[in-house]
Symmetry: C2
Subunit: 229 residues, 2 copies
DNA sequence: TAGTGGTCTAGACCACCAC
DNA sequence: TGGTGGTCTAGACCACTAT
C-alpha cells in the first residue's frame, strides 16, 4: 500500500494501452478518479501529471484530460563519459593524446560557437580505446578565453573530456548525430578503410552563456546508439 | 506568487550552476529549505525532486541531497511522424510506395523481433519526399500474425507509418541509430552516390509484448539529428 | 461563468539507511 | 536508531478556458 500514486498511474496507463480509453477520449476528472481510487485528489493529480509528462495524455484546464491521439515519442539517451561507457561494458579503457595545438580560432568555429572577435583555442586530438581497439576518435577545441588554464593542463594522461567534466560540470550543450565517411586520418586511427561510413557525434558546450568547447566524436565502424522507450 | 516550487527550483539550480553548492556537496534538508523559502516542505520537495529527475542532484534518505559530481546528461529526442517532421519545417511532403510483398518471415527478422515459429510478414518499401527531394527511405516489415488486416490496407496512399500510429498507438519500442553506406538501391532512391555515408535509424515495436513491426529508415545524405540539453 | 487542472499548506506516517 | 526523504491527506485558493 505504498506509493499509491504509482498504482493509480499504472491502472490508468493500462486502461489507455489496452484501449479502454481510446485516443482522443476524455478521461474522468481528478475528483471522480480520486473517488474511484479512494484517495486524495493530490494523489490522482500526481499520477495523471506524470502520464502527461510522458506524453500519454494531454491536460487542459476546464477541458479536462484527454488521451493523446498519437503519443509523443521521446527517445532519451544517456550521454556518459567515454571511459565510463567503455568500463561499464566490461572492457579495458585506454586513452591516447594524438595532437595538441594552440592556435587562433578558425572562422568556422567562431561561427559555430558564437565566438566574437579573435582569441586563441586549444586544439586537441585523441583516441579512446576499448580493450586496445580504437573506439572513438575525438577532435576537440577549447575556448581559452573562457578557460585560460586549459593551456597549462597536461592532457597526455587526463583526457580533455574528464578534465572538462571536473572543471565545468554544469553546462548547457547542443549535441547532434550524423553519418560521415572515413578519411585517411580517421582510417589510420580507427583502423578502418577510407570511405567507411562512421557514426559522428558533435557537441557544443556553453557555461553561463559563454562558449566552452566544441568536439567531434567519431566512433568505430559499426557503432550503434540504442534506447528503448 | 504563482508556482512557488518553480522559483525554489530555479534558485537552487542557480546556486548549483554558479558553484555556490559545488559537486558532491550536501545541500540543506527539506525542512531548512522550507524555512528559508517560507513555504511548505511539500513545495521544496517538488522542487528538489524535479532537479533530481533532471540529474542535477542525487537524493538518499537519511544521507540527504547532494549535488551530482558529474551531472547525468540525458539527450532527449522527439520522434515525430516523418510527415509532421517535414511539414513542420515548412516543406511539402510527398510519399511514394515503392514495393509491397507478402512473404514468410525471414530468419533474421524472426531473431530480431523474437518471433516464434513461422508466419507471414508484409514487406513494404517506400520513400518520403520533402519539396520533391528524397528525404527518407523506409524499409518496413509488419507482423501479420499481430496485425492481419494490414494485408488489406492500401498503402499506396497512406504511409505505413501513419496507418500504424492510428491502429496501434501505444506501443513499446527500441530504436537505434548508426551509420551505413549507400548501396545501389539506396543511391537510386535517395539520389546519392553509392558508398555515401548515410544516417540510419532502426525501430522495433511491440504492443503488449507482441512484435508488431521492424523498420529501417535511411535518411538523405547530410541528415543530422540535433537536440539541446 | 462555471468546471477543470495547478498549486500550496500543515500535518502526518513511514521506509530507508548512514551512523 | 534517528534523521532524511517519500508520500498521503483534506482542504483551500487560484488560473485558465470552454461554453
Amino acid at each position: 500500500m505504498k506509493a499509491a500514486f504509482r498504482d493509480v498511474k499504472e491502472v490508468i496507463r493500462t486502461r489507455i494501452v489496452d484501449g479502454d480509453w481510446g485516443p482522443g477520449e476524455l478521461i474522468p476528472n481528478e475528483i471522480d478518479l480520486a473517488a474511484e481510487f479512494q484517495c486524495a485528489r493530490a494523489t490522482v493529480n500526481r499520477a495523471v501529471r506524470e502520464l502527461a509528462e510522458e506524453g500519454l495524455v494531454e491536460r487542459k484546464r476546464k477541458a479536462g484530460t484527454r488521451v493523446r491521439m498519437s503519443p509523443v515519442r521521446r527517445a532519451q539517451f544517456e550521454i556518459p563519459v567515454v571511459r565510463e561507457e567503455i568500463e561499464a561494458s566490461g572492457r579495458m579503457y585506454r586513452y591516447a593524446l594524438v595532437r595538441r595545438d594552440l592556435c587562433d580560432t578558425p572562422d568556422w568555429l567562431r561561427a559555430r560557437m558564437g565566438l566574437g572577435d579573435r582569441g586563441q583555442v586549444l586544439h586537441l586530438v585523441c583516441v579512446h580505446y576499448a580493450d586496445n581497439n580504437p573506439y572513438q576518435y575525438e577532435d576537440r577545441w577549447i575556448n581559452l578565453a573562457a578557460l585560460p588554464n586549459a593551456a597549462d593542463v597536461d592532457f597526455s594522461e587526463t583526457s580533455p573530456n574528464e578534465w572538462l567534466v571536473e572543471t565545468v560540470p554544469f553546462s548547457d550543450a547542443e549535441i547532434s548525430f550524423s553519418a560521415t565517411a572515413s578519411d585517411e586520418v580517421l582510417a589510420s586511427h580507427l583502423g578502418c578503410a577510407v570511405g567507411n561510413p562512421l557514426f559522428l557525434a558533435e557537441r557544443s558546450t556553453w557555461w553561463r552563456g559563454e562558449p566552452i568547447t566544441y568536439v567531434r566524436m567519431v566512433f568505430q565502424r559499426g557503432h550503434r546508439m540504442t534506447t528503448r522507450f
